[in-house]
Symmetry: C2
Subunit: 347 residues, 2 copies
């Protein structure tokens, strides 16, 4: 499961403020398109009736708020950015559910499964546009956040990050049909997906009026966290935590033959026999559970699981070392470091 709690460094009140801001922004719009978005975000059911509150992953929005606090800002200035990044993340999820044919997310039917792929593509496009509209609210923010140059910088950072994610997604999809994908290629894709947490942390810094070196450290911190999370999602899909089963999103990734760091390592380092066995499995049109068991057993033999786990740990260390280059208080550094571990490990 993705992290669904409150990030360290934030209070329950911060989390409530964020959820209200996000909800207010979506609810301000009347048309049925926005009901579909509210459904995806977990507030109403398919008929528009209120849902019992089940906290979803809001770590992208929370990271904006936490980074802003660490850099000396407050929620007043960082809230529109937090809403923007959270919406950006959710637009990508809505499209990913169509792309990987996921029927469920957060234990509820996905938008495409309930309303069809055409509506889901459109809903995602709408959320993508709304992510940016939120930023224009920044003109009414307090402090340095309302400076037009900051807003322009934030918008550009957001679009650049989105493009990076799309570049990564292109590669990720194209690797589905290839057996030989290298460790470097997998890390490149994960780095690109990491752009989203990178921009989250950076936008927190922009809201707080931080200087270039802090913005860069925050980006690198978030990027390392996002990269590690992306690699760890694949690890947990192959080897779920004891007592938990693969969820729909994890099964979707495996069955659509998305490559992971562990499989890339085994292909690079395995014996010819190992490679041939993996190749035969990946040649199949669709992978069944027995195939997955064979893959995980091969990857354990080649110590590819250990290799991938060490890479994830290395990225967490990289994220934390970026914090040390800033003048954030020890308390903030430790909250962010703990956030990094939680975001990465709760997948």
């Amino acid at each position: 499961m993705l992290f669904t709690g409150i990030l360290p460094g934030l209070t329950a009140d911060d989390s409530d403020q964020f959820e209200s801001a996000l909800k207010k922004f979506v609810d301000a719009r009347e048309l049925p398109l926005y009901k579909m978005m509210a459904y995806h975000l977990g507030w109403i059911d398919q008929n528009g009736e209120p849902e019992p509150v089940v906290m979803q992953d809001r770590s992208h929005g929370h990271l904006v708020l936490a980074a802003a606090k660490a850099a000396g800002g407050d929620n007043g200035s960082s809230m529109p950015y937090a809403v923007a990044v959270e919406l950006l993340y959710n637009f990508l999820l809505v499209h990913e559910d169509v792309q990987n044919a996921n029927t469920e997310r957060n234990n509820r039917p996905t938008i495409w499964w309930s309303w069809g792929p055409a509506q889901a593509i459109n809903a995602g496009d709408g959320i993508h546009a709304m992510a940016r509209v939120s930023i224009f609210d920044q003109r009414n923010a307090s402090g340095p956040a309302s400076d037009p140059r900051s807003i322009s910088l934030a918008l550009e950072s957001l679009d650049t990050a989105t493009l990076e994610v799309c570049e990564g997604e292109y590669l990720d999809i194209s690797y589905q049909e290839r057996a030989a994908v290298s460790v470097d290629e997998i890390v490149t894709v994960a780095r690109k997906h990491g752009a989203l947490f990178g921009v989250a942390a950076r936008l927190g810094g922009i809201a707080a009026g931080a200087g270039d070196s802090v913005l860069e450290a925050l980006y690198k911190f978030g990027n390392a966290v996002g990269t590690a999370q992306s690699l760890n999602i694949d690890l947990k899909a192959l080897w779920p935590d004891p007592g938990s089963e693969r969820n729909e999103v994890q099964r979707g990734r495996l069955q659509s033959k998305k490559k992971s760091l562990a499989t890339a390592h085994a292909i690079e380092n395995g014996t010819p026999t190992t490679r041939r066995r993996l190749g035969e499995i990946f040649m199949k049109r669709v992978l069944d559970p027995a195939d997955l068991d064979e893959v995980t057993s091969i990857l354990s033999e080649t110590e590819s699981k250990t290799f991938a786990e060490e890479k994830v740990e290395g990225l967490i260390a990289e994220a934390i070392s970026e914090l040390e280059s800033t003048s954030f208080s020890a308390e903030h550094q430790s909250s962010l470091a703990e956030s990094a571990r939680l975001i990465v490990s709760s997948n």
Copy 2:
């Protein structure tokens, strides 16, 4: 066929400058994701080899340049906006091709047909993000266009227009499964799709540093043109020009049972028998050519074709009357009026 020439008021040199700017912007990026975009825009084939130049519809980008000229601006200031609006239009086309399962556009296989729906959704998302990245080039533009407040206004206009298009698309898709769709509902959808030409004309005005009343007149002009074009696309899908056949995109709209102004008029104004016959046809899972012939013959009986044609003419007149509220030269007014007719009628 959509208009594929040079809009009145622009020279061949303007059109070349625009095509170069668009191409340069996409070509500056190296990854294969951008090759897919270049393919969609008509410059290369599926293998990345240069294609013989076949001019595609560039009326959105051209309208930005033409509106800027009319409002006293020049290409130097309006070019990044023209690139942005053209990319926005093309991101919507890439997604529409997936949504309506169009296999061809501009007589070439669509992205989803060549690379699969997952890549097409992602390519569209990338073009959407790029549309905005283009606007950041505006910071280096000449004159009033480089003012941060203008840029922020332009970005907000672009996102608001995108949201309107998504709102319209939601309704359009949801009407597919309903028989009774009113004339007002169809016009609302068309108005929302018209937001794209509206924002094109408005961005031309912003680039030229025009005041609020001119910006509003330009938006209304473009919106009326876009609305008329959208209604006319449906008319031409039902009744293609003499000697021309329905293209793939037109067939896609009809077969997916998108409703048109003419069908809405017939449902509102037809006899009970007419309504029942139309209802029976729309109840079918998929419409075949004989069904379409029956629909067109019913719509001629109820004079719904004439009704829709008159509505389109009325919108062109509405667009032209907006120009009269400006102080644009007679020459510019007449070029824009002619552009309006060309954009609407060449569908």
